[in-house]
């Protein structure tokens, strides 16, 4: 383990908001704040995919931002990991049935860590990023992991109905349970 590069000591994060309602985004901002202080783990929020190791995605994918997400992912140098932040990024969440929503981030880029929550709590987010960072070393060694997806691929996504995975829990309907009975 001597010559092991501790990638997890300095994971640089790039954040891309897909269809998020801002809930997760402002919680990610809160992570930078003095109370949580992401930087104490060496995590830096860089705005540029070319400098980043970890791609944090919030929100579900739609037709227009799918290609952006793909580009951002492609531009990151290897090794890289993706963290899907919040339930929308995992499955599409409450918006899963919207006509312009394709579903979770996994439709476009391979995801390494899912962080639950609507929105995820800052603690969960930090944990997610650190777990992802821990995978960087493994990713660097493992030659099977694709280094770079060809940039010439045309991003055309499948029709969402067909590609929608059967989810263990239907988040959207779970969210929409009438609650006034409780009150």
């Amino acid at each position: 383990m001597k010559d092991k590069v501790r990638f997890d000591k300095s994971p640089w994060v790039v954040h891309f908001n897909c269809n998020s309602c801002n809930g997760c985004d402002i919680e990610l901002l809160a992570c930078l704040s003095p109370l949580y202080d992401l930087e104490r783990f060496g995590i830096v929020h860089v705005g540029n995919p070319k400098h980043a190791d970890v791609l944090v995605v919030t929100g579900s994918v739609n037709y227009r931002n799918a290609r952006v997400l793909k580009n951002v992912y492609d531009q990151m140098p290897h090794p890289k990991v993706v963290v899907a932040m919040g339930v929308c990024a995992a499955t599409g969440g409450v918006f899963r049935e919207c006509y312009n929503v394709l579903g979770g981030v996994e439709k476009v880029v391979p995801v390494d860590v899912f962080v639950p929550g609507c929105p995820s709590r800052p603690e969960a987010m930090m944990d997610g990023i650190l777990q992802a960072a821990a995978k960087l070393d493994e990713k660097r060694r493992n030659p099977d992991v694709p280094v770079a997806v060809s940039t010439d691929t045309v991003v055309r996504l499948p029709a969402p109905e067909a590609a929608r995975p059967a989810l263990p829990a239907d988040t959207a309907s779970a969210l929409a349970t009438p609650m006034e009975k409780i009150a």
Partner: protein, 638 residues
């Protein structure tokens, strides 16, 4: 100084008359082929004669009897031609100045009677350097002109016959310049001076467009004005009892003739407020611009100033000259930032560097003098190269706008690489231009205002070079180089010049130590600051040793390392906020409104509101005029 041997006499004749005669033959030649052969012969002859002369060492040559009358005749012819042009083309200021000059000539002859002194030719270190520059760099430009004009003829209205005329003036220019730097006789100097003025008039107006005619006329007005000033200076010098030689003028204490001649050098080297003719000269075909800017015309002015420098060293006059040069340097460097026309950037840079030379001549320490020499030499080579590159690029992409030059690295890698080397040589170590600038700044420590102007100017220079260099080296994401197809003469000329630039860069130390530094020390030994300067020169000498070599080795090493590092790198699309279009060939196209592709483009920064040509010239010209007026104040005339 030894008298000339017969071979040297013939070499001088070959240097001066050879190009003119062959040029005349080329004009008369019927076919392009014959003409090309004649032009090449002329250039080879000049270059060889120049080198041969330089190898032979210094001498002094007293021309035979009768040549004095030849001089009178030529003087009369020059005045007549000026008058003729002024009348025929209705350039009345020129006509008026022609009449004044004619009056001067008549007056001079009446006053002195019939005897005319025979001219003297002197070859010392300074003229050797100039002869080498003119005959080698100038010749290379002329050779380049062959290929260039072949293409140019198809675009422009001029016919083959007029191209012949063009080459006559081009090669004739070389001959006249050689004469100018070799002669020690003020009268002959004035003749050659006027000759170059006329040549430049015809060359600038070669394309015969209204703009070309206008600019040629402007060049003529300003330079005839300079010529007139020179004429008066010469007449005054002789009136005050000089023997009509430059060396005598330098030794005499009379300042007024000196001031008049200095004024003439300012017009020729396009110092502010006389810079407009050189900018107008940009309309001419590129070889002309290259010739005017690098090795001839403008160098005539700085040459004469350097020649005269010991004459005014330490006087008030020198202070004003230094100030004027530094002012030109700072202001024109600033204006160059706002220019998008490549040739204009080069023109302003030329004026700025000439300003630096003038400032150095004014400062007058051995250090400053050697700085002036270094700049004189290296500027000639680098600027010639850059002009030729711009000409080539312009012919290939049909534009001389800097912003249109992005991506030419792929279209014409050969020319672009050479141009990049040229630009690097203008601003970075180990090349001579930077060394010159360095010494200039170092030697101006005693004159705070000059120093400030030089410091500001040198910072501004970096700006426009860097942004232009960055523009041309820009390459796309996938490198698909296509090598451009250039005529042999152009390719040859470019290669030769770039070799000279690189060799010159590598040998900065050698050239400086063996040729420029001793010359400066000898010439400027009379400077009151000579002792201070010697300390600095020692520091420069040391730098020319191992540190310079270290720089060269490091640069070369890094280039090699980078080449090795290329293999294991992957390319990725550039950052366009994630909206890259997924096509590999359209790399800098992003999707925007309605998913439509739009090409991302960042033009260079010009800061037109700050550094705009019109805005700055409006106040800088009057200031420059004021500075020039103080020349006369300083010698107590006003």
């Amino acid at each position: 100084m030894p008298s000339a041997a017969p071979t040297q006499l013939w070499l001088v004749v070959a240097l001066i008359c050879g190009p003119i005669i062959f040029g005349l033959l080329a004009w008369l030649a019927q076919s392009e082929r014959t003409r090309n052969i004649l032009v090449i012969t002329a250039t080879c002859l000049t270059a060889l004669a120049g080198v041969a002369l330089a190898v032979q060492g210094p001498f002094m040559l007293q021309a035979g009897p009768g040549t004095g009358h030849l001089g009178d005749l030529l003087e009369a012819v020059m005045v007549a031609v000026v008058l003729g042009i002024g009348y025929k083309q209705k350039i009345w200021p020129v006509f008026a100045m022609g009449i004044v000059q004619a009056g001067l000539v008549v007056f001079e002859h009446l006053g002195k009677g019939a005897e005319s002194a025979n001219p003297t030719f002197i070859l010392d270190s300074l003229s050797t350097i100039l002869v080498l520059i003119i005959s080698i760099v100038g010749s290379v430009i002329v050779v380049y002109g062959i290929g260039y004009m072949h293409v140019h003829e198809h675009h422009a209205p001029p016919t083959t016959a007029s191209t012949g005329r063009f080459f006559f003036f081009l090669t004739g220019f070389l001959g006249l310049m050689n004469g100018l730097v070799l002669t020690d006789s003020l009268k002959w100097l004035a003749i050659f001076w006027e000759g170059t003025t006329l040549c430049s008039f015809f060359l600038i107006g070669h394309d015969r467009t209204p703009e070309a005619r206008r600019n040629a006329a402007r060049a003529l007005i300003i330079n005839v004005f300079g010529g007139m000033s020179l004429g008066f200076g010469v007449a005054l010098a002789q009136h005050e009892g000089g023997n009509g030689s430059i060396s005598n003028m330098v030794q005499s204490a009379a300042l007024l003739p000196l001031v008049l001649v200095v004024l003439a050098t300012f017009t020729k080297s396009a110092q502010m407020p006389f810079q407009s003719w050189l900018l107008g000269a940009m309309v001419a075909p590129t070889p002309v611009s290259a010739l005017l800017h690098s090795s001839t015309m403008v160098k005539a002015g700085s040459y004469l100033l350097l020649r005269l420098a010991p004459g005014f060293v330490g006087t008030n006059l020198a202070t004003v000259i230094a100030l004027s040069g530094a002012f030109t340097f700072a202001v024109t460097s600033a204006i160059a930032i706002s220019q998008s026309n490549a040739k204009k950037v080069l023109a302003y840079s030329t004026i700025a560097n000439l300003g630096l030379i003038v400032a150095c001549a004014g400062i007058g320490t051995p250090m400053a003098y050697s700085a002036a020499l270094v700049i004189l030499v290296y500027h000639a080579i680098s600027k010639a190269l850059l002009f030729l590159c711009v000409g080539t690029i312009e012919q290939q992409i049909g534009s001389r706008d800097i912003d249109d030059m992005s991506g030419i690295m792929l279209k014409m890698p050969y020319t672009t690489t050479i141009a990049a080397v040229g630009m690097v040589s203008m601003m970075l170590p180990p090349f001579g231009m930077l060394v010159g600038k360095w010494m200039a700044i170092a030697s101006s420590g005693h004159a705070p205002i000059v120093l400030l102007l030089l410091v500001i100017g040198s910072a501004l220079t970096i700006f426009f070079w860097a942004k232009w260099l960055g523009r041309i080296i820009t390459t796309a994401y996938h490198d698909h180089y296509t090598v451009e197809n250039l005529p042999f003469s152009m390719k040859g000329a470019l290669s030769l010049l770039v070799l000279m630039v690189i060799a010159g860069g590598a040998m900065t130390g050698v050239i400086y130590r063996n040729y420029l530094s001793p010359l400066a020390k000898v010439t400027m030994s009379g400077s009151p600051l000579a002792n201070d300067s010697s300390v600095l020169l020692k520091s420069v000498d040391e730098f020319m040793g191992w540190p310079l070599i270290t720089i060269i080795v490091v640069v070369a090493g890094v280039v090699l390392m980078a080449l090795l590092g290329l293999r294991n790198s992957h390319t990725r699309l550039p950052f366009l906020c994630g909206e890259n279009t997924p096509s590999g060939t359209r790399t800098f196209v992003f999707r925007s409104l309605m998913d439509q592709p739009v090409t991302a483009h960042v033009s260079s920064f010009y800061f037109a509101p700050w550094f705009g040509e019109i805005g700055i010239t409006k106040w800088a010209n009057p200031v420059a005029v004021l500075i020039l007026l103080t020349l006369f104040v300083r010698i107590g005339l006003i």
